[in-house]
């Protein structure tokens, strides 16, 4: 048996490095697994204060002074070994596949009783195990003491008090891992079920909890439960019966106001100044000084700087939006938002749990779709994914802002707000159409959600989020947008015979004129617009870069009327999401049908809505403005 296990381990390593120690990091949701993972590996995985932030298995190497090869796997949070949601299934399968690894069970010491339920199950897996008691700094601060020796005796494995957030006890934890790793390759696992406590595998939850209740009573000296003292007070205010919904709405509007109001606008103008006037002009003079040929100058100035630069100036506002969303998440308010919104969400056939992914969809659709894994049934998941793209993602912001600065300068926050509402309304209508509970109200899945205590977001974590977003955005600007801009510049300069021609006779114009008629009933039948919308499928920001390259210095001001600009924006809000999102939709639903349906459905919705806006608007103008 042991021989087999060893062989399996070696197969798993699939190399001759016999010294590699494999560690599985398991624990309840939101108990600090990813924070510990980041500490151990020096990586920067996304951390938030709510259940279900990690939905995928992540691997990393542990840095240690002994230069041991320790590979650690961060699993999604689980409450027990019998999975209920999809991300829990992911975690469980991973444990089942890697039985020869070391189990590092992280336990939230401030919530010992519920966390030890999983520990009691893990202890029966016969894997070498270490318990990391996390958040011991908080326990200490509350004046409580945890008897680790007692827990070691009960669970028959080493128990290391740590604080992943404050970086305490990590070295000791690594040492224990190495110790256990060296032993477990030779010896049988330390845990055995000779002890009567573990003899019954089919313990009911009742029996387990009876036992654990006693264990945790004995392990903690004083049971005053100060953890939630402040948190409950905040909840009594924020979740106040009369004002909870109002406060929530206020918070959302505040996020909107900061992003699109004066603070965001100020930063954007600053960025635009730096890119256009400072950077653009200096590149221009450098190129001049080196006597670079005309077409290279055109490529760099009219193609790259105009295209990519036009988008980069919107970075500050995108970063602001993401920062505010991650503040909601880190503080613990996100779970409260789900709690408040559960009742309204039921009206469209979803539960409050689905609200969190949808709210994240305003940031970026891709991670938002991934986080629908936290939903317990596949109907909810499919429905959420279907309406997700209607939640206008941050990549569309540059388009709104660009058009607003030309056409709706005075009322831009209002117009943008209207666009977001349009998206949300279409999401709601879609959910009502397709929620599948015709007549029967019973289909809505149950709502059982843990509300973590509020925590003050750490600046470090916040900076990680900001850096994460910025680097992601810049990477996209440097790859997709750069390539798109160069291709667009090239195609609009040459004809099919590769002769440099006027834009109107270029390859791009021919292609554009082929698609453009589709949009003429929406009021933007120009081939340039058609091209920009097509390129926008690669990444939404590239609508801006493409329009900037194609319309050049004269800008889009003369190409649209206020009305056609608005109908164009309505189209942008509703039309199919970018390639990355479509791939994620396919990956998560494993259904070509749903992916294709998303594309066709959204395209038709966008076409219909924007044609409607334009036609009704035109009618209105003809009737009243003449």
């Amino acid at each position: 048996m042991m021989q087999k296990e060893k062989q399996k381990l070696n197969n798993f390593l699939n190399t001759n490095q016999k010294n590699t120690i494999n560690v599985l990091l398991a624990g309840n949701p939101n108990c600090g697994k990813t924070t510990l993972f980041n500490r151990l590996t020096g990586s920067r995985q996304y951390v938030g204060n709510r259940v279900g932030v990690t939905v995928e298995v992540k691997k990393g190497r542990v840095h240690n002074s002994l230069n041991k090869n320790i590979e650690i796997t961060d699993l999604p949070g689980i409450y027990s070994l019998s999975p209920y949601t999809m991300e829990e299934t992911v975690a469980k399968n991973c444990i089942a596949k890697n039985k020869s690894s070391i189990m590092l069970n992280i336990v939230d010491a401030t919530n010992l009783e519920r966390n030890l339920f999983l520990t009691s199950q893990l202890a029966q897996l016969h894997m070498p195990m270490i318990i990391a008691l996390n958040m011991c700094d908080i326990i200490e601060k509350e004046g409580e003491v945890i008897d680790t020796a007692y827990l070691e005796k009960i669970f028959m494995c080493p128990v290391v008090p740590i604080s992943a957030g404050k970086n305490k006890g990590i070295d000791k934890l690594i040492k224990k891992i190495i110790e256990l790793g060296n032993n477990s390759l030779i010896n049988t696992p330390k845990t055995s079920d000779n002890n009567s406590i573990w003899s019954n595998h089919n313990k009911t939850a009742d029996m387990r909890f009876d036992f654990i209740h006693n264990v945790s009573q004995n392990a903690i000296t004083k049971k005053s439960n100060k953890t939630y003292l402040t948190s409950d007070k905040i909840d009594r205010f924020l979740l106040n019966k009369k004002f909870a919904a109002v406060i929530f709405l206020f918070i959302i509007l505040l996020i909107f106001a900061v992003t699109f109001g004066p603070p965001g606008t100020f930063l954007r103008k600053g960025a635009a100044f730096v890119i256009d006037d400072v950077f653009g002009n200096s590149v221009h003079s450098i190129l001049d000084a080196f006597n670079v040929s005309e077409w290279v100058q055109s490529l760099v100035i009219d193609g790259i700087i105009t295209g990519v630069g036009s988008v980069i100036s919107f970075l500050p506002q995108i970063v602001i939006l993401f920062t505010l969303l991650s503040l909601l998440e880190d503080s613990g308010y996100m779970a409260r938002a789900a709690f408040i919104m559960d009742r309204p969400m039921r009206c469209i056939g979803l539960s409050g749990n689905a609200f969190i992914p949808l709210l994240m969809g305003f940031g970026c659709t891709v991670p938002a779709i991934l986080s629908t894994r936290t939903l317990e049934n596949s109907r909810d998941k499919k429905l959420s994914i279907l309406i997700m793209p209607f939640m206008s993602c941050s990549a569309k912001m540059p388009v709104y802002l660009m058009f607003c600065s030309y056409f709706f300068a005075d009322s831009s926050p209002f117009v943008i707000f209207l666009l977001y509402i349009t998206g949300i309304m279409f999401g709601i209508m879609t959910a009502l159409l397709f929620n599948g509970s015709k007549g029967k109200e019973k289909k809505i899945s149950p709502f059982v959600l843990e509300l973590p205590p509020y925590r003050i977001p750490t600046p470090k974590n916040l900076l990680y989020h900001i850096w994460d977003r910025t680097s992601d955005f810049l990477a996209r600007a440097g790859t997709t947008l750069l390539v798109a801009s160069v291709i667009i510049w090239f195609l609009q300069r040459f004809n099919f015979a590769f002769q440099s021609v006027d834009t109107d006779q270029s390859i791009l114009a021919c292609l554009g004129r082929f698609i453009a008629p589709v949009f003429s009933m929406c009021g933007f039948g120009d081939w340039r617009t058609a091209v920009s919308l097509t390129v926008g499928i690669a990444a939404k920001e590239s609508i801006v870069s493409t329009l900037s390259v194609l319309y050049g210095t004269c800008g889009i001001g003369s190409a649209f009327t206020c009305l056609s600009a608005f109908s164009f924006l309505v189209f942008v809000v509703l039309y199919p999401p970018c390639i990355a999102s479509l791939c994620t939709i396919y990956k998560e639903t494993e259904s070509i049908k749903q992916t294709a349906f998303t594309i066709i459905y959204q395209f038709l919705a966008a076409l219909f809505a924007s044609a409607f806006v334009f036609q009704i608007g035109t009618l209105f103008f003809n009737l009243f403005c003449r």
């Binding site: 009783e113 009911t204 009742d206 909890f209 049971k223 939630y228 909840d235 979740l239 019966k241 559960d342």
Partner: protein, 74 residues
Amino acid sequence: MKTLDNLREGQSGVICQINLDGPLCRRINELGITKGAVIKKLITSSFGDPAIFDVRGYRLAMRKSETSKILIEE
């Protein structure tokens, strides 16, 4: 005996029976809602449903549809 949803805010009781089945019942059990557990209702949502409970030292939100099937003794 009364059902959990009939608790008023701030009131607590001991769970004596859970009339749910299937995966949902299992999940609720694993979250610490088991016979003998002390549970306290803290806050009801603005819309009357769901509500937040204090159980085993942490906070859990549940709907009436579930809590009406959990019997408690005061």
